[in-house]
Amino acid sequence: MIRNYLKTAYRSLLKNKGFTALNVLGLSVGLATCLLIVFYVVDELSYDRYNTKADRIYRLTLDAQLNGHGGLYATSEGPLLPAIKNTFSEIEKSVRVVDASGLFISPSKFYFKKGVQNIQETNVVYTEPGLFDIFTLPMVDGSPSTALNDPHSAVITESTAKKYFNKVNVVGQTLTLNDTSTYKITGVIKDIPAQSHFNYNFFLSFSTLPESRIGGWGYSGVHNYVLLKPGSDIKKLETQIASIEIKHSFSAAAWSTNGNHFRMILKPLLDIHLKDDSQYSLSKNGSMEYVYIFSVIAIFILLIACVNFMNLSTARSSKRAKEVGVRKVLGSARKNLVAQFLTESILVTLVSTIIAVVLAFALLPLFNQMADKQLAFTAQSLSWLLPSLIVIVLVIGFLAGSYPAFFLSAFQPIDVLKGKISTGFKGGFLRSFLVVFQFSISIFLIIGTLVIYNQLNYIHNKSLGFDRSQVLVIKNTTSLGKNAQILTQELKQLPGVVNATMSAYTPTGSDRLKTGLFPHKIIDIKEDMLTEFWSVDENYINTMGIKLIAGRNFSKNMATDSSAIIVNEAFAKKFGEKDPLNKIVYRFSYGLQAFHIVGVMKDFNYESLKDKIEPAVLAYGPDNGAISIRMHSANLTTLMAQVENKWKSFSPNQAFSYSFMDQEFDATYRSEQRIGTIFIAFTTLAIAIACLGLFGLAAYAAEQRNKEIGIRKVLGASVSTIVSMLSMDFIKLVLISILIATPLAWWVMQKWLQDFAYRTSIQWYVLAMAGAGAILIAFITISFQSIKAALNNPVDSLKSE
């Protein structure tokens, strides 16, 4: 019997090649897209799961609010863990991890020597032996329990070992850091899986650092992780740890007054990648929001594809009604017919699924590039993929085949053969509903894409308060020491260089320094004006193109300028003085310092445009972290070569590392850009699949109404009348979709834009464009069929009696 079903199904599908092709094409593209997204989502959800004790690992996270600023912080204080680890029995193990951002005495740039060459490494971290008890980082050489005990010991990954020594077993070898200190390699671990919220190649012993010997509280650049005993009371522990922090903080009372608070959160390891909003988090890129969005899109695309399948099958049902009638007259039972139809649709789904897998496999590299991922088909993915594919084939095959199967098989043979069941095309309410559904999704996606693009465009063209074009930033100039200043002077002399300034703090860079300034000499923590505090030279403002709106720039010739500062408008506002010029503010770190305000500069965006411009202050003092030069040259290549030559003459052993400010700026929005690209791709696919369906439907509609078209032509209807008549039925559905999708999309995208402090509004023409676009695309799709139908000779269509 099954064989018979298969044979009949095969023939029927082959006979209706167009129908089969449309179905297979739509379904396989939809499924392939879905597969890619599933891969992406599975990958996102698998972060940190390589840790066998993942469910018991937590990161200490601060939630603090003080005088209107604060938030969540992934780092907490250095002395905290030693203070609590033996106090609370719930804590089984603990480890402190300090990355470059947590170092303030030790250098935070890392150059390791290989031969004569110094190689800069960024994935370097200081940590303790507890790391290997908590995280599952198998050691292939060395002993995990002792590896990071002693100062100046290092554990590296396998690939790092190969990179520096061309072999894996390198315990006992040494590494030279920044030409000054040597580390003994005490362990080699397997490379950390890509799905990890941190990914380091060098683990150096924390005990090496002067920071590790700071006993006092206040040093808070440390990532603290704990492994808890099973069944620990998390809430209780959080309160207990918080109370210890508060006890040691500078003013325990401050935390309980006017809206201030201090809480400790034990962040589960498995939430860090996707559900962590805290600052200084080691994880990047992950966002539950996008996991949801993409999952929804995947479901939408799959639904659109399934809807096509259903629609085309039902549209075809009138043609098959006769077949059903004849079969029934010949004695076929209803269940046989149901089985027959289901066999057909499952066969189509199966073929589509196979094509989809091949397609997804072929598109994976492209998708990886788009999504910035390293997804791969592995034996392991096959183990969950195969069963789920079988389920998909059965479910979709059943869903898509069910309507024709159960609907058609219920026909009374007499009615069918007498032609009583006209299975009129127009009656298909379900079909209309499904088309509306498909187009609503498509229009929603079109609007989403347009809004994202408009916003990105807006960001790209927004005046930022500084001029990011043609500014070259030379990095890692710290190693030049005092010579950095001389290099800056010499670079400024180069023809084609307009100006040059020396400072690590650039508007597009990542170096930031927050400090508290106070309006009065007697420090009152309630008057803390938290601000960025950047050391710059007198050329900074001109090189960056920042505008002064009051006062003056720093001057070399004013002895008193060593304590001068220039503040931005946001700071001036916070400060609250009507005329901030010549006013004094105080800072209390390394003793009390007084600064006098010599200028006010226009606000410039130095953080992502997602955030409002916060107070920032420029202080006059040398900082040799980077050199920025403003260029004005037709021949950039020559100028770059000259700049590099200068660099070589100052620092022959170190690579010339630079970037352009406009590129740095764009990089800030790479994740939005990526989302934009992915959105475009998905939107295009969704629309393409929906159009495939519409194309098929239009074909059936035209076929169904063939006779009617003939009659109308005989009675004098023109081709254009017929075309518009055939198209109108579908265009109406698209219009309904527009009415449904537009407000919905507007609302959702409005929410998305809320994320940006600086944003465009959704213009009416964006909505209009999306609607018009959808109508146009639908119209073109339908026109193929309706024009063909309208051009038919009516004699032919009327003859087939």
Binding site: I711, L715, L798
Partner: protein, 225 residues
Amino acid sequence: MIKITNLEKFYRTEEVETIALNKLSIEVKTGEFVAIMGPSGCGKSTLLNILGMLDDPDEGSYVFNGIEVAHFTERKRADLRKHNIGFVFQSFNLIDELTVFENVELPLIYTGVPSAERVKRVEEVLDKMQIMHRRNHYPQQLSGGQQQRVAIARAVVNKPKLILADEPTGNLDSSNGNDVMELLTDLNEQGTTIIMVTHSEHDARYSHRIIRLLDGQSVVENIMV
């Protein structure tokens, strides 16, 4: 009104070439009622379609009201057709989704008659065909005879000069068939030229003249007395 000379029409399929009309020459005068007869497949419908400008001939000339239309474009033919010619088919060819009224109204829409005028004319003709009481029914709800009345109403609503009827009684019993023939005769008496294809000698007797076709050629012409 109609003069065709050496009209030829071929149908080419992959294997065979059929000569549907073979150097056929016929003349029909205004006000005539002509019946065309002949065995199945001899080219009657083909001839009627060409006369109705639904199809064009491969060779020969077709002069309609003094105008050579043999090689008119589709658009020009359609224009000429909708103002001058009404069709009645064996299978009625009503549109299932439209009511009786709407079916009859269609030709007026396509010739751009204003809506008020359309209502008037459709009601007039429905009245004449005695199917006014069925105006809001759908074709499936009518008997064959009633459907053919609607079809004839639709054919004449535009007051065409020529009515082409292809076996108009083929799907009707004899009593309904006679009614239809009476209607056609009435129309003819009011001045409409009628060309009708039929298999029935009985029906043919309503006409003035019978043209007999065989293999695409005219063999005999009987003048009725």
